[in-house]
């Protein structure tokens, strides 16, 4: 290889670099006819410029070869330009296009055979300057005519596009300008006395203008073109070419210091390698900094967002993530997420960036922009929507809302075909319009966010359905108890109060006004409770007419105030239907607290329930707090004066008469059962007293004792008074007396508080009892007391089929059943009471 001095060598090198760069870069772009035509244009330009440069440098395999390459490319350039214009303006004259292609092919072949221009003769002057002498013949007129024809056709096509097709002048003037540069540059390069390669330089400008036109037309995505590998390869090639150009001078320079050929070669090789690598790395870094970093940042954002949303099923957290990533990625400060409220049939504002934003915004489902995005996955730019016909049906208020919220972009959140939400995104902080990249980013987030949000909503909805009471929207019994249990287990709550609210005479209310009005009343009270309690409190519908409120971290006094607050609200607001005044609703509330009145959930619930029952018995419309010293604090307004905090003394008259009536009925049917019930009531209440239960509880146990066998009224007398042991089937009938007891008491609403004790008195501590087979602490305290007392009286009483056992025997038998049939603690206590003489056998009638 010989080195030849070529003036302005940097111009062709720059051109080769530029063409190569674009050509290699476009190899990785998505191809279209237009992109192919541009690549062909660049390729021909590269061959022309590169061939010409290498010819002048007399590069191997010789100047003749490079001349052929260059001259064939020169004659191909007009067609390349024509082809680009044809594709750019969507030409459809295929005959013309194919004809031009064939003509150019013929010209190129003839050029190769030197029909138009023979290979120039090289002359080396004495000064060492090399010149090439061309001998142009008349034949050159053919390729010239062809070139003029192709350029003319291209210009005609452009003019036609502007005039007839009304193509925007701004879309075509850049390629035209490039072509003008090319023509002027080529003319200038053949003018005498000019050594600067204007032709090559104008080629660079032309390539730049055409490239810029394609960029403006968004014919490709710039980031995809400039990949790191493309940059590295391009710069390495160009660096090598540049370096090779200076090898001759470098060798001369090194030879000034050393004569060793090996040293020269080594130094030169190392220097060239270092030079090429430095140039390559610098270019790589520069491009990475400019565009790849941004791309990377975007990808990281999407990745992090995807990761964050996959870790949670909390709707609000996901909304926050969507909002954060979009605000940061797009550079916006206004963003609102509206989710579909199926009950309202509207999209309600569910999340805003600024907590101070107006939250009372709702969007109807028939708003035109929702109709517009309903069937598409892409986002809607407001600027584009404003230009649509659909925008004309927008209401002024809807337009104003979008303007007030500074909305620039509307994005759907979908669940399959269902539009579950919408994102309203504000203008960018730098006031720039949304770019293509912004839209792509937004659509990625929208797609990931939609899936995450829909999953979370589905989860929350399922959870809500499982936990919620359909009528009131409060927690249902199970969910409430679970939450209270969690609250008790939580270590931070050193105290916790529970309020049980039971509506007075609710059955009567339903009967008077119908269950629909009853449901409304329940909804009304539920909403009042929900609006009164704080966010940390737990409120639920415990049963038909009972509500429970758990106040974690709050004492009994705070619970009492909360209950009084609810009562006051209920007193103030009277239910009414179409102006008809309805029965005033009141409630009884029982309050118990941990650790003052209970130590676990069961106890808490039992105690609170008892206070409610107590309230029912003492005239209703009461709030009663549980106190473990045996005295209940009662607050209420039974006298109707509305005075709070007044202690109401016990009064059993109402319930007592019912109980005595029932016991009289038992007595009439079965005198033994009557005596037995009285005994059991006494023993059980004594035991309860000894166990330290409250007065209320003791009273309830006593009453339950009196009525625990009331169901025997329904048992045939033949079985009740049968001498000897009962047959299996007879025993089964006898066992039904528990259900009969419940059935009887159930229709006496004033006595329904006795049911837990009555129903459970045949349950066994080890869970093998009847009717429900419950065990241990799950058996109500009253039932446990009754069980012991029942067994004691049964053993110490004389029956028609057996003699009375001794008290000692009975005590021993009871003691043996501790932890099996009876509560071990109560058993101990009872046996001790027997031993201490506190329990003595009472009435011992033997019947039949």
């Amino acid at each position: 290889m010989s080195s030849t001095a070529v003036p302005y060598i940097w111009v062709p090198i720059l051109a080769v670099f530029f063409y190569s760069f674009l050509l290699i870069a476009f190899c990785s772009a998505k191809k279209s006819k237009l992109i192919y035509s541009f690549m062909w244009y660049m390729f021909v330009s590269l061959l022309w410029t590169g061939g010409s440069m290498l010819m002048r440098m007399q590069f191997s395999p010789g100047y003749a070869f490079w001349y052929q390459v260059s001259i064939i490319a020169v004659f191909a350039i007009p067609y390349a330009f024509y082809n680009f214009v044809y594709c750019y303006l969507h030409g459809n004259n295929r005959i013309e296009h194919i004809s031009m292609e064939l003509f150019t092919l013929v010209i190129m072949i003839l050029t190769y055979f030197q029909v138009f221009l023979p290979i120039p003769v090289m002359h080396v002057a004495a000064s060492g300057r090399t010149t090439f002498v061309y001998h142009a013949g008349w034949q050159l007129i053919f390729p010239t005519i062809m070139a003029v024809l192709l350029v003319g056709l291209s210009l005609k096509r452009v003019a036609n596009a502007v005039r007839v097709k009304h193509q925007m002048v701004s879309e075509v003037y850049l390629p035209l300008l490039g072509a003008a540069f090319l023509i002027v540059g080529n003319i200038m390069s053949v003018l005498p006395g000019i050594h600067f390669p204007f032709d090559t330089f104008s080629g660079i400008i032309n390539a730049f203008l055409v490239f810029f036109t394609l960029t403006r037309k968004r014919a490709f995505k710039l980031n995809l073109l400039v990949s790191p590998s493309v940059v590295l390869y391009c710069t390495l090639i160009v660096g090598a070419v540049l370096g090779a150009n200076f090898i001759g001078d470098g060798i001369k320079l090194i030879q000034g210091y050393t004569d060793s050929i090996t040293a020269v070669i080594v130094i030169m090789s190392v220097a060239l390698t270092i030079f090429v690598l430095i140039v390559g790395l610098l270019a790589y870094k520069a491009i990475s900094r400019i565009s790849l970093r941004r791309e990377q940042v975007v990808q990281d954002r999407v990745k992090n967002f995807s990761l964050a949303t996959s870790k949670t099923l909390n709707v609000h957290e996901i909304m926050g993530d969507i909002s954060d990533v979009l605000c940061e990625g797009l550079g916006v400060s206004h963003l609102m997420i509206f989710m579909l409220d199926r009950n309202k049939g509207k999209y309600v504002l569910s999340h805003t960036v600024n907590p101070l934003d107006n939250k009372n915004i709702e969007i109807d489902r028939d708003v035109p922009y929702i109709e517009y995005i309903k069937d598409s996955d892409t986002c809607l730019l407001l600027s584009e929507f404003k230009r649509s016909t659909t925008y004309r049906s927008m209401w002024e208020s809807e337009k104003r809302m979008l303007a007030d919220c500074d909305v620039a972009c509307i994005t759907p959140i979908r669940n399959n075909k269902d539009l579950t939400g919408i994102l309203l995104i504000g203008n960018k902080n730098n006031k720039a319009p949304y770019s293509y990249d912004d839209i792509v980013f937004l659509e990625s987030i929208q797609s990931i966010g939609s899936i995450a949000l829909n999953n979370a909503m589905l989860f929350e909805d399922t959870k809500r359905r499982a936990d919620m009471d359909d009528l009131t929207g409060m927690l249902n019994r199970n969910a409430f108890l679970k939450r209270v249990e969690d609250a008790i287990d939580a270590k931070e709550n050193d105290q916790l109060s529970l309020i049980m609210i039971s509506i007075d005479d609710f059955r009567l209310y339903n009967e008077l006004y119908g269950s629909q009005e009853g449901d409304k009343a329940l909804q009304y009270i539920a909403s009042m409770i929900m609006n009164t309690v704080t966010r940390n409190d737990i409120a639920g519908r415990y049963s038909g007419k009972e509500f429970c409120i758990c106040l974690p971290g709050k004492n009994q006094m705070q619970a009492l105030r909360t209950t009084e607050n609810i009562k006051e609200q209920l007193n103030r607001n009277e239910m009414g239907n179409g102006g008809i005044k309805m029965k005033k609703l009141t409630f009884c509330a029982g309050i118990c607290s941990i650790p003052y009145g209970a130590s676990n959930l069961k106890e808490l619930m039992t105690n609170a329930t008892m206070q409610v029952f107590s309230g029912k018995h003492t005239g209703k419309d009461k709030i009663i707090t549980y106190q473990s010293d045996g005295v209940s604090g009662k607050y209420g307004a039974a006298d109707g004066d509305g005075q709070q905090g007044q202690i109401v003394f016990r009064g059993y008259e109402g319930a007592a008469s019912t109980i005595y009536a029932l016991t009289a009925a038992i007595d009439a049917k079965d005198h033994y059962t009557f005596n037995h019930s009285s005994n059991v009531a006494e023993y059980a209440s004594e035991l309860a007293k000894e166990a330290g239960l409250s007065d209320e509880h003791i009273r309830i146990i006593h009453e339950a004792g009196l009525l625990h066998d009331v169901g025997k009224i329904a048992i045939p007398e033949s079985i009740l008074s049968k001498p000897g042991r009962l047959e299996t089937d007879e025993y089964e009938i006898m066992k039904t007396h528990v259900e009969h007891s419940i059935e009887i008491i159930r229709y006496l609403p004033d006595l329904d508080y006795l049911i837990p004790a009555v129903v459970g008195h045949h349950e066994r501590w080890d869970g093998t009892g009847y009717p429900n087979g419950i065990e241990g602490d799950n058996i109500p305290m009253g039932a446990r007391c009754l069980a012991v007392a029942d067994a004691f009286d049964a053993m110490t009483s004389k029956r028609s089929y057996k003699e009375a056992f001794s008290v000692e025997f009975a005590a021993k038998e009871i003691s043996n059943q501790a932890g099996k049939q009876f509560d071990p603690q109560l058993t101990c206590l009872f046996v001790k009471m027997i031993e201490d003489g506190q329990i003595r056998p009472r009435l011992r009638d033997a019947v039949g």
Partner: protein, 539 residues
Amino acid sequence: MRYGEKLTQQHNVDLWGEYCGFIDLDYKEFKKIQERLMLEQIRKWSDSGLGQRILKGKHPRTIEDFRNMVPLTKYEDYADVLLNKRVDMLPEEPVIWLETTWEGGLHPIKTAPYTDGMLEAFDHNMLSIMTLASSKERNQATLRNKDRVLFGLAPLPYVTGLFPLVLDKEIDFHFLPPVKKANSMSFSGRNKEGFKMGIFGGIDGFFGMTSIIAYMTESFSESASGGSSGKSKKSTKDKKYSMKPKMIARYLKAKGICEREGRPMLPKDIFKLKALVCAGTDTGCYKEKIEEAWDIKIQEIFAGTEMSLLCTETPSHRGMVFFPDSCFPEFIPEEESVKCQCDPKYQPSTLLLDELEDGKNYELVITSLKGGAFARYRVGDMFRCVSRAGDSSTSLPLVTFTDRIRDVIDIAGFTRITGNSISDVISLSRLPIDHWVAKKEYYRDKKPYMHLYIEIKPDAVDTSALSVQVLREHLKVYFKFLDTDYDDLEKILGVDPLKITVLKCGAFNKYMEKNGKQIPRMNPTAHEINMLITGNVMM
């Protein structure tokens, strides 16, 4: 981005879609837009003091409710609120109040409030008209900034006065004369000055009342070809010296061609109009001549003070389509409308756009949208349904504006003569006219005029020197005295719109005896007129 910038920077397909996309709607989509905007308007209007006064406490929620609950209204129903500009009674605070004459009304003018939303729709629809007017086919828009536009429509506070304001906001037209200058000139002065400027520098767009454009076209041909008037000839020669070189070249070339072809010079010979927008009564009479003279299709539009910009022609120029966001139109069949004129208490039924029948005439009833004041308002204009299913250019119903209702005689869009105004004229003139009927008729060249058929009192025949000429001159004086628009008609257009036929004494009584009823005073049918005049004419 302004319309002027969009024209050069946006693709024509996008521009067309933005402004003319509505003509591609099918009727279902059009109806959807209308119904949505109506629901907004029903809520606003029903809640307003004005609405409640008409509704008497009722609250319609649907369009059907609204049509059932709101009676058909006339300006009298709004007069006290609108003439006193009682903003507190309106559905929405207006941005501007526009005016028009109230022919035969209690007050000389009618005012109408325009809200922000109405103006926004007006802007958009105005640009739709511009785009349609400047395109020979779809996806075209040839107007550009700096185009020279001659504006021959009434200035503010008439609705047409909004046109230049809207256009000025959206595109840099050179108005001929400039808007500010034009506002300080008389209507006729403005038109003359504008046309003169057009001759000097060229005209790209022309907006005007059809009758005025027709008059200008005629005058141009006469003066440019050195017609009958010597003055005209002189002035054209004078003009030539102050014309732009481009216009001189065009003038000379046109002159040569016309001389060669032996025909008078027409505007098309020297002007290459991009858009010609016309409005007004009797457009149909002048349309053909104007289009021939200017070599461009007229873009006919329909607008009014109470109803804003209402309709525009489509590219096929077969008829007009309604803008979807301007007003909600209803239509009274012609027979019902006539019945109503005989019995003012009669409440005619109305039809919706998709219920019209091709070839039939209807009286227009509009409800303003976007917080406007008028609900089921009888505008007093008659339309003909050309094609309910549209044509090749649109699938929306096509209509044409035929004329005013029978009670009013509108000559060339200038003057609106009612029965009351004719009675007043006759009474003021003290002419011994016993009976009369008036009918709008057309000359052979399709120009309109008012034909007054009168019967002189028998006892005056012997004592008064009455001839058609005397009667005409006499009545003209009082028509001009009472109606300045009538005066303008003569001054601006040079038209004498009154023709008188004196009937034989007793003709009206004979008609009454024969038919058992009186002949309608305004616009009776040709058959009724024939019955009245048969054998009794004195010309």
